[in-house]
Symmetry: C2
Subunit: 388 residues, 2 copies
């Protein structure tokens, strides 16, 4: 059923004048899912290695298996021109095996190692002179207590690996509150930043070095999970250039290819501090599907294929994306479309093909328009149709 | 691999409060292909009955077979909630069998019968009082000569069935020039309209009767094939309302569901005459993917599912779509992306996953912006990268 668009000689060992066009994505979540429409539009073939049957990206899944298994991943990647990712959890030995087999991996293992381990990330950002919250690596209760004493008796403890959406992050006032995690190995501890708001700078970079940034966005987190994004960030004229320069320095310094999201704190005294990095399309950039000339998903495909990047201009003065978290109990988003569409003909609805479950990201909506407050109100109202 | 998102009781015989969500498309061409991205975005399942392996819509093909075969089509449609079309060539007995099996068919057989036969179409439009070119049904050379004599010695002869993209259409000055076709049965003959330009009015209509129109577009045909579309049609203020009213009268009069394209002549004396109808997404509406809040493909899905229609506002002052006809010799569109993307970062490129062949529609590009002439120049230049 699936056509193979590659001609003989057009593979990764092929002639330089023939553009690679089969993209392999490891992971079948909503990020892989949202890469499928631009691949269809551009006539690129996309193949997904999904964790399970019925994944969010099942339409493009050509294999189901464990991304931690070298043989599974090598078999999946054998006929693709480039491997990229729905998530950052592929182990280093698997990435190394892909590289050894001559398969382009974007972003590459060195860059991904930094995204995979928060201690490594803090060390590398410090080396690059990037402003970050005060931090330390702590191996025991005494070291953690010492950090807390030096930073107002409070700190944010993070497990170096595996955390996302607020998981693996804990605000503590005593070392005892992190005793269970300390038993598992060294932790990252950071000052609790007194911030005015959170921002996110999205960028895409090609192997050749060309990069493009979208306008700085403001993000609203609830319980560590992204709830709402407004782009461009209102009243951020001073921060626009600084954020873009920071993201560019990180992307170049770490050799990132594909989309990079830099999550930032804007402190009460107006500084920007880097909070987290993601080396893939990111929740803070979902607004670009409807609100920018080139979406982060199309741009990621262009970038990993080392094709010239697209225009990142906005299509509207403001775009607001609101996540649908949890979703309607015992139903899916489309079951509420009759009412939601009738009330909001100009809002764009996105469903990830997942069953509803408390707290789960099952979709998002995006509204666009000239007035930030009005757009936000419309997006929130539209997302509200999918509350449990 | 393909998840079935329907819960028990959610099928077409299910409860009224559960929205149908599995769409079956007969035909695997580029129109079916372009329905896939909005289906993914909205979390709707789309399944395609393709003519052959490796079709343009192969990614969503769940069956390959002959759309003229009742059993093939019934087997394909068994588990879908609504059947719709990539083309208008499905025979009436197949459509009747689907209806007899209780499967919603949109547009329905009565409406499709009008789109399938140009003589039937002319008769029905005449009954509805819709302005059309002077026409006649002719069964022999004498009848055709009589028509030509009465209309300046020239006429446009059309085979009632099977014509598209200029096929089945011939300008004649004598009956002898249509002798081969006359041997096959009655023909439609029309006056050769002295037109200023060609226009297209796109509309979508739900079974419940709600309809929405996009702004009137100007189309440029070359050799009977759509080459270029600009929307909104420049200098057409007087025609906007008239065209919308005509399309609405046709959609309601013929009971069309889904997208309807009304191709129009704007005569040298400023009248609008209906040239052709298409009851599906149409080449004249491809600009809506990038240039309108709701594309014709998303709208078609909403309409055939009887969901409230989306906003048809434009995203830019002008959008220009230019078809890629033929494509690069011995190559596919993506082989030229490096140069095309570098020159035109703000143009949207669409490739249909087809091999290049002279005259074949293999893709299109769309440019948007405030100045009609500048946008047209950019779109033409971008499409030019794919010339043979």
């Amino acid at each position: 059923m699936k056509p193979n668009r590659r001609r003989s000689g057009a593979g990764r060992a092929g002639r330089l004048d023939i553009v690679t066009s089969v993209i392999g994505v490891i992971g079948g979540g909503q990020l892989a899912r949202m890469m499928i429409p631009p691949a269809i539009a551009l006539g690129l073939e996309i193949r997904v290695l999904a964790e399970s049957e019925g994944s969010s990206a099942a339409l493009a899944a050509t294999a189901v298996g464990d991304y931690r298994d070298v043989e599974t991943v090598l078999a999946f990647a054998r006929d693709v021109d480039v491997v990229t990712f729905d998530h950052e959890h592929v182990p280093h030995d698997v990435l190394a095996a892909l590289v050894a087999a001559g398969i382009p991996v974007r972003p590459g293992p060195e860059a991904l190692a930094i995204a995979q381990d928060k201690l490594v990330m803090r060390r590398r950002l410090a080396e690059l002179g990037i402003p970050v919250p005060a931090w330390a690596e702590v191996r025991d209760a005494a070291e953690l207590e010492a950090f807390l004493d030096a930073h107002g008796g409070v700190g944010v403890v993070k497990t170096p690996r595996g955390g996302y959406d607020g998981k693996g992050v804990r605000v503590v006032h005593t070392a005892a509150e992190a005793a269970d995690w300390l038993a598992g190995g060294p932790l990252l501890v950071e000052e609790l930043v007194d911030f005015r708001r959170e921002l996110a700078q999205l960028l895409a970079r090609r192997p050749s070095g060309e990069f493009a940034t979208w306008p700085l966005a403001e993000t609203v987190q609830v319980g560590g999970v992204c709830a709402e994004v407004i782009a461009p960030a209102p009243r951020a004229d001073e921060q626009l250039t600084a954020a873009r320069d920071l993201a560019a320095a990180i992307a170049e310094g770490l050799g990132v290819t594909g989309v990079l999201a830099v999550e930032l704190f804007e402190t009460v005294d107006g500084r920007l501090l880097v909070n987290e990095l993601a080396m893939r399309p990111h929740n803070s950039g979902h607004w670009t599907i409807d609100g920018a000339v080139t979406s982060q998903f199309e741009q990621h495909l262009r970038a990993v294929l080392d094709l010239p990047l697209g225009d990142t201009s906005t299509r509207a003065e403001f775009s607001v994306m609101v996540n649908v978290l949890g979703g309607p109990l015992g139903a899916q988003l489309p079951d509420r479309y009759a009412a939601a569409f009738a009330a909001h003909p100009d809002v764009k609805f996105h469903a990830y093909g997942k069953d509803s479950r408390p707290g789960r990201k099952v979709g998002h909506v995006t509204a666009c328009g000239p007035d930030a407050d009005a757009v936000r109100a419309r997006a929130r109202a539209a997302a509200g149709f999918f509350d449990s």
